[in-house]
């Protein structure tokens, strides 16, 4: 793993280094080729320049020769004039000279002629320069006769070139070939520096034409036109306009004499070198050109920069690769970790599915019918796993016909409006029976809100649902029965009232008509009749009141209980009857008519059933977390614990009718009123003396 991490970066680095080296070689070699090309072009132009300088010098010489040929009785003045015009400022030309062939017999004529033209003491001489002596006898002389410019060349005047073997052989070669001949490099008489000079002779023949045969040439030879060149100045002048970074060497090939250049210049052997032969005026020069030391072929900065750049890039890319490898490794680890987590999660899910009592369905693609049903799903419907195809189509087929439409509707709303999908429906068991299930599901949507997939479950709720249905039916029955009862109570009390009133009226009218005429016995019957009517009226009134108790408004409002209780006490004439009612109550949110009716009934009961002439009634209140608790306590005879359940029933009175006027409905009405709004009423048995009735009402905020 570790090795792998570094392998590719190292390979990349090696490839990068190789590339850098190759690049360096390529760049430097192409640079070298370019430099070599430049060098050869430059060297070649040096060569051409030198050649053309020599040719132009010969041109001068040819002009001079033609001038001499065409001049009879050439005077020094004319020679000087012409030469001056030719030379202009060609400084490398040391001199232009006329060398006549002078036979011994004409020696003195020439010497006198020269002297007559201003060359004082002109003599044909020989010997060493600086120490010339009159020439010894020879059949022919080749003296330097006319010289231009004279200045600087005085010592050469009169010098017999034939007296010097090297010069003489050049002269003879020129004479015999009829062409220009150049001497080897010589130390010029006039020369002050160390440079070599060369002489070029051009033979001048009688008639201006070069005779065909050598004998005739020797005979007809008049003399030689001569041009003296300073090789160094010639080359410097010619190459003045050329690049100066090249070292030039010129060697005379015949005597291996150096004509130009420093032959000690170091020549790098593997470096550039140009060499070529220059044939001119029957002489061969070897021209060789090299770059000066330090110049020439070296890998240049750009090649180094290229190589270093490539190296840096390859190092950087290797480092980058290393970094990539590292992050790749981290990603791989992360993927492995998440894969493991996913596997665990999947395992957890499948265990949950297998172990669950609910059946799982997975509608994998909502555009298709195919689904996945878990084994438990099949089991719940009485099928073996995969016994029927898991599809939406099959599921709808199994649904109870009456449940298909609501289920489809809810599904549609879930998919489009994303409302909660939970529904109770009947699905057909394999046995044919329809069982109740709780179906729920959850879809997944894409970014555009298109439903993709939906997963859900079915849970068997058949037993619960059947019980619920039964309970609902009972509750409905009960409610209907209660309503019937109330309706009956109302109708009975109401309809019984009319004939009773008739009876009451008739009894009253009989009494009025018979006033004073009835015997005591009849009168007592009449009183009993009236008493019975009155009791029946009370019962009917109570029954009516009971049946209508709590009907109507159930809105709560803020009620000042002190004020309300005070009003009740006044209404019942408690004070006049000798009763003290103690209360210190708050202001609470409650149904006004309800609390009024309840308290009135209870206080009325306490007063009505009290045996003494005076009494005390305490109204208490306690606020608990979720309910108001009231108590009404009196100091009367109390209620026999054995009878405490009975007192809340209808028409129950605990004392003979004759003693206390009561319908027996008071506590029954109280109970009904309180229970209607989910309160409770009970007798507090801890009360030792008297009676304490408590009731609670839920707090309504």
């Amino acid at each position: 793993m570790r090795f792998k991490l570094y392998l590719t970066p190292i390979i990349s680095l090696l490839v990068g280094i190789t590339c850098a080296i190759l690049l360096f070689i390529f760049v430097s070699s192409s640079q070298k080729a370019e430099q070599a090309g430049v060098f050869h072009r430059q060297a070649n132009s040096y060569f051409k320049t030198i050649e053309s300088a020599l040719h132009s010098s010969r041109g001068l010489l040819v002009s001079l020769k033609s001038f001499i040929e065409n001049s009879d009785n050439l005077s020094k003045d004319r020679f000087d004039k012409y030469s001056k015009a030719l030379l202009k400022d060609r400084k490398y030309v040391q001199a232009m000279e006329w060398i006549p062939k002078v036979s011994n017999d004409k020696r003195s004529f020439y010497e006198q002629l020269a002297q007559s033209q201003g060359l004082n003491n002109y003599q044909i001489k020989q010997g060493k320069f600086g120490n010339l002596k009159p020439a010894s006898f020879r059949p022919q002389y080749y003296p330097v006769y006319y010289v231009y410019p004279l200045t600087g060349n005085e010592s050469a005047v009169g010098y017999d070139l034939g007296s010097n073997q090297a010069r003489l052989s050049a002269l003879q070669a020129a004479m015999d070939t009829g062409k220009a001949v150049m001497t080897a490099g010589i130390k010029l008489v006039q020369e002050t520096s160390s440079q070599s000079g060369v002489l070029i002779f051009y033979p001048v023949f009688k008639g201006g034409v070069v005779p065909a045969a050598i004998e005739e040439r020797r005979r007809k030879l008049l003399g030689f036109a001569l041009i003296v060149l300073r090789v160094g100045d010639l080359i410097d002048h010619a190459s003045a306009k050329l690049p100066q970074q090249l070292a030039l060497l010129i060697t005379d090939k015949e005597d291996n004499q150096s004509l130009y250049g420093d032959h000690n210049t170091k020549i790098n052997k593997h470096n550039l070198h140009f060499q070529s032969n220059l044939s001119f005026a029957q002489r061969n020069w070897e021209v060789s050109v090299t770059p000066f030391a330090g110049e020439g072929l070296h890998p240049q900065l750009s090649a180094w920069l290229t190589a270093v750049g490539a190296l840096i890039i390859s190092v950087l890319s290797s480092l980058h690769l290393l970094q990539l490898n590292r992050s790749h490794r981290q990603i791989s680890l992360e993927v492995a970790r998440q894969t493991k987590a996913l596997r665990l999660s999947e395992q957890r899910f499948s265990l949950a599915v297998e172990g669950s009592s609910v059946g799982i369905w997975d509608w994998i693609d909502v555009d298709e019918s195919t689904e996945y049903w878990s084994a438990q799903f099949y089991h719940l419907l009485g099928y073996k796993n995969l016994e029927i195809k898991a599809s939406k189509q099959n599921f709808v087929r199994l649904l109870h016909p009456n449940d298909r439409k609501p289920a489809a509707h809810l599904l549609q709303r879930h998919l489009t409006e994303r409302c909660h999908f939970e529904i109770e429906y009947r699905i057909q068991h394999k046995s044919g029976e329809y069982l109740w299930f709780l179906g729920s599901g959850q879809a997944a949507w894409d970014a555009q809100g298109k439903p993709l997939r939906m997963v859900g479950s079915i849970q068997k709720i058949h037993r619960r649902k059947m019980a619920e249905i039964a309970i609902n039916r009972y509750a409905e029955d009960l409610q209907r029965s209660n309503q019937d009862l109330e309706q009956f109570a109302y109708v009975a009390s109401h309809d019984l009232k009319a004939p009773l009133r008739g009876i009451s009226n008739l009894a009253q009218w009989i009494e009025e008509n018979m006033a004073g005429k009835m015997d005591p016995e009849t009168d007592s019957y009449m009183q009993l009749l009236k008493g019975g009517i009155s009791r029946l009226e009370n019962l009917l009134a109570g029954l009516l009141q009971y049946s209508r108790a709590g009907v109507g408004e159930s809105r709560t409002e803020s009620v000042d209980l002190n004020l309300l209780t005070g009003n009740i006490a006044d209404l019942l004439c408690a004070e006049q009857l000798g009763f003290v009612i103690n209360f210190d109550l708050p202001c609470i949110q409650v149904q006004r008519s309800l609390i009024n009716q309840v308290l009135q009934n209870l206080i009325n009961n306490s007063i009505k059933h009290h045996l003494g002439d005076s009494g005390q009634i305490d109204i208490g209140y306690q606020r608990l977390a979720s309910e108001h608790v009231f108590s009404v306590t009196d100091d009367g005879p109390g209620i026999d614990p054995q009878m405490s359940d009975k007192v809340f029933q209808m028409f129950q009175t605990l004392r003979p009718r004759d003693e206390v006027e009561g319908s027996g409905m008071g506590l029954a009405i109280v109970k009904k009123l309180i229970e209607r709004c989910n309160g409770k009423v009970w007798i507090d048995r801890e009360q030792q003396q008297g009676c304490c009735i408590k009731f609670s009402l839920p707090i309504d905020d």
């Binding site: 009232k497 009133r501 009226n505």
Partner: protein, 142 residues
């Protein structure tokens, strides 16, 4: 003054009719008394339809609520929707202070109500009111 006004008692219960008669007698009210057993008969008497003799001169109606064929509330509806009879003075008789009935009747603009079980007293009160009515419609006095 009371001689002129006639009384139309709309009531089906014989004992109640007797009670009203007793009350009128004890109050020494001897105005002409017409009796209708239900709303339909009462309308016939008022309009003189169906062979009934039409009631002549000013009259007041004492109306029971619970009757066969046409009850008191239905009768009130008919009267209030009849342009000629709209201003008829009507007292509703009730067996108790039955709130629903009273409220329903009042919403139809009745002159007052009489509680049957206490007919004499409430009748006196009603007559007190009635005097204002008669004055209001400019009946002859004396």
């Amino acid at each position: 003054m009371r001689k002129e006004a006639q009384i139309l008692l709309v009531e089906d219960d014989d004992i109640d009719i007797m009670g009203i008669k007793r009350a009128l007698k004890s109050l020494k009210i001897a105005n002409n008394l017409h009796i209708a057993k239900d709303g339909i008969q009462a309308l016939e008497i008022i309009r003189g339809d169906n062979g009934q003799q039409k009631i002549q001169g000013p009259f007041i109606v004492l109306l029971d609520l619970n009757m066969p064929r046409m009850g008191g509330l239905e009768f009130l509806d008919v009267i209030r929707n009849d342009a000629q009879l709209k201003s008829t003075v009507i007292f509703v008789m009730t067996t108790s202070s039955d709130e629903q009935d009273i409220c329903a009747a009042y919403s139809k603009n009745i002159a007052g109500y009489i509680v049957k079980s206490n007919a004499e007293e409430s009748f006196l009160q009603a007559l007190g009111l009635l005097e204002h009515y008669w004055r209001g419609i400019e009946l002859p006095t004396g």
